[in-house]
Amino acid sequence: MTEAVLSLKGVEKRFGSFRALGPVDLDVGAGERLGIIGPNGSGKTTLINCITGVYRPDSGSVFFEGRDISHLQAHKRARMGIARSFQIPRPFIGMTVFENLLVPLDYCHVEGSRHERARAVLASVGLSGRSSDPSEKLTQLELRKLELARALVGNPKVLIADEAMAGLSEEEIDEVLAILLALNRSGVAVIMIEHIMHAVMRFSERVVCFETGRLIAAGTSSEIAENPLVQKVYFGE
């Protein structure tokens, strides 16, 4: 693995007395494709929220490009190059699809023409035709694409896709996978959280598995598929 772009040390998050996550140690290499799997409620989204700054971890630190970002607010982290999509799409309703992309472009200080960049990204995810429609009118697939487009428009260094393919058909899954692979080829590290096994296994160079907030296994796709701990989590005995 090349040097880590993102690195978590002993990150832990509690809700009241309930420990939803951790302690977790995890490194993500620059340009890596990392898959994260785990049953419902295993803390995957909580992990993302700790990385992006939506939640403050109760203990532990998050490093980005070697710098401790644990105390930075979410918008500062986004500007540094950590982008995410939300598990339940959160379009900026009341704005057009195009304007949705202008928000990160306005605030993440992207160089060059913002309008051209937005148009190019919309084309790359296949939403050009919807550019001037209100974002509340989109279909489920289009909403997922908008989530991704909004995340990647600001030229992030790490993109985290939280179940970007849930509820999509096989062809649609292939479409989203293609978008993420193209992005990764341009040098962006992609963290994919997914319940759709064949997709995450096909996509990832490395897969980690969470259960009840802890990282229980890590390895290549085939290693994870064979791993007895993972099998136990997913299939019982």
């Binding site: 509690r14 809700f15 009241g16 939506v54 939640y55 403050r56």
Partner: protein
């Protein structure tokens, strides 16, 4: 001037006032604290309850009896209010907090105006033989018009608390905010549980109203000065904690009584809000639930 008598009297008055405030906040503790519906019309409903009690006492009824009679119509009023609320919002996939705030704001104004059209804008009070005089214990002087309502409050609070924590339908109310799905699996209709809860919350308004009008005369717009108190109580107590609300209410009552005795009674409306703002500012992550 800082005599111990004044201090002692202020503290006792504060405790009794706090107890009355706790009964004002009781309904909001259910609607906002448990159901998370920001019913800013609750203080106005309490004032409406006070006017209901006033009307019956004009016919010669005892205020406490009048309040008990009022339980039924106010329960039904609450059920209707919730039915309207949910017909408007919940069907559209969850209520928007801002819209529901606005709705209740409009509602409280409409109720206030109807009261003022019906009763005029003068102060109204009730007079019963047993609330005329004062109880004297050494240096303490406790007017019965404060003592009786203050005793009424803990009884009501205890009854509601017992209902919520010890009965099945009470447990369903506490569960409904968090586990709507589990509730429907258990065969209960979440909408009807909430409607029932809103009915109970509104029914407590008539008891609180009786307490309020016994303590002192009331005018149709009196609810405005209670909003700060009731929200301070519910929020600072930890949303939905009913015993906690009694504690906070008494703290607020004592603070107000001290400000009244040592500063000037005209400052006391601001006290609860100051406490609420301070509480929110010191614990910005909210005073309940998980820190983010």
């Amino acid at each position: 001037m800082l005599s111990i008598d004044i201090l002692l009297n202020a503290i006792v008055t504060g405790i009794l006032l706090g107890s009355v405030y706790a009964s004002l906040a009781l309904g909001l503790g259910i609607t906002f604290g448990i159901l998370h519906i920001p019913n800013i019309a609750h203080p106005t409903l309490v004032v409406a309850g006070a006017f209901f009690v006033y009307t019956l006492t004009q016919w010669g009824l005892d205020p406490i009896v009048a309040a008990l009679i009022g339980l039924v119509p106010f329960y039904l009023l609450g059920v209707v209010l919730y039915a309207f609320y949910s017909a408007v919002f919940e069907r559209k996939g969850g209520a928007n907090v801002l819209q529901s705030l606005t709705l209740f704001f409009g509602l409280s104004l409409v109720i206030e105006i109807l009261l003022s059209l019906g009763f005029g804008s003068e102060l109204k009070s009730v007079s019963v033989s047993y609330i005329g005089s004062s109880l004297k214990l050494g240096v303490l002087t406790v007017p019965y018009r404060l003592l009786i309502p203050a005793l009424l409050a803990p009884v009501t609070i205890a009854a509601v608390w017992f209902y919520l924590s010890r009965t099945n339908s009470g447990t369903a109310i506490r569960a409904v905010a968090h586990e709507e799905r589990a509730l429907s699996i258990a065969g209960l209709n979440p909408a009807s549980v909430k409607r029932h809860a809103f009915g109970i919350a509104t029914a407590t308004a008539v008891i609180a109203g009786a307490a309020l009008i016994m303590v002192g005369p009331i005018e149709p717009f009196a609810g405005r000065y209670q909003i700060g108190r009731v929200f301070a109580i519910v929020v600072l107590a930890g949303m939905g904690s009913i015993p906690g609300s009694l504690v906070i209410a008494i703290i607020i009552g004592i603070a107000e009584a001290l400000v009244s005795s040592y500063l000037n009674p005209s400052w006391s409306p601001g006290v609860a809000f100051a406490i609420l703002l301070l509480g929110l500012a010191l614990r910005p992550q909210g005073l309940f639930g998980a820190a983010r």
